[in-house]
Symmetry: C2
Subunit: 169 residues, 2 copies
């Protein structure tokens, strides 16, 4: 394995591309492509959230997670789902609590524990942003033919299952 192949650049030099086309480096090539596309979309959404709503992407993600769970989520579960450290989650929750967009309440399944929930105001605030967010994603992907989109969704679904299996090894 040559070290050059693992670099996370977005435009490989021609010689590198040529070498990556042999099957051997297919996994790395696929990963670098996924990462490049995801980073581009994410960076665009991040800056639109900032300029459009004055909020960070982790804050949007956290509200999105809560929106999916009307019963609320424990801090540890939130942190696991967002794949960020619990310190980050604590900070964002504290900020949203001050703005009365989330509330900490007793876990209905375990009175000694607490869960975080969106307040009605938080739910309304998120609803507005989520609709605009979907519009941005639709716009960013507007030049991708519907057939390609459907094909990628199917392939990514398959990949997600395989990555899950991998985790359970």
């Amino acid at each position: 394995m040559k070290p050059r192949e693992a670099s996370l650049q977005q435009e490989p030099a021609p010689d590198l591309t040529a070498r990556l086309t042999d099957g051997h480096h297919q996994a790395l090539k696929l990963w670098l492509r996924m990462l490049a596309c995801t980073m581009r979309v994410e960076s665009s959404i991040r800056s639109r959230l900032r300029s459009g709503f004055g909020i960070t992407l982790p804050r949007f993600d956290l509200m999105a997670q809560l929106e999916r769970q009307p019963e609320g989520l424990r801090m540890g579960e939130l942190s696991r789902r967002m794949m960020v450290t619990s310190g980050n989650v604590t900070g964002i929750v504290a900020e949203l609590e001050r703005e009365k967009l989330v509330a900490r309440v007793h876990d209905p399944h375990d009175g000694r524990a607490f869960v975080v929930r969106l307040t009605p105001a938080g739910r309304r605030a998120f609803a507005g942003m989520a609709a605009v967010h979907e519009g941005w994603v639709t716009e960013l992907f507007r030049d991708i033919p519907a057939r390609d989109k459907a094909q990628m969704i199917a392939l990514l679904d398959k990949m997600k299952r395989q990555l899950n299996d991998d985790k359970e090894d």
Copy 2:
């Protein structure tokens, strides 16, 4: 547009999945799948880098960027390529400089400016990590058939070009 669809969860509830299958929400569905797969792989690589080499993912990424540019890169260009703030880049460069893995030298094209380069020791250190990193990616994607990999690479290449075009609007 319904707000629920914009949540970034990894396992949509059945009713949501059903609604997402109509063409209308295809872009969002594709984006959530891309994000979920990328986050899973990234999180696995992040924790392997930490336990295997005791380093962070941004540090690995920064060395990967420099490895691709033997002439060196200016701080602003490094930050742009890594899509992180220049404050983050400054911190990592300072750390790598203390360990003599990178050096700041005069830009050969503009003597008043500085570029960051890997030192020979940095190049050797990165080479070892990059080889192991490629092994991890190969392992993570081992259950994905070669045909699926090739198809995804082609679709992502197309997407990358379309996202670029979008940027130039």
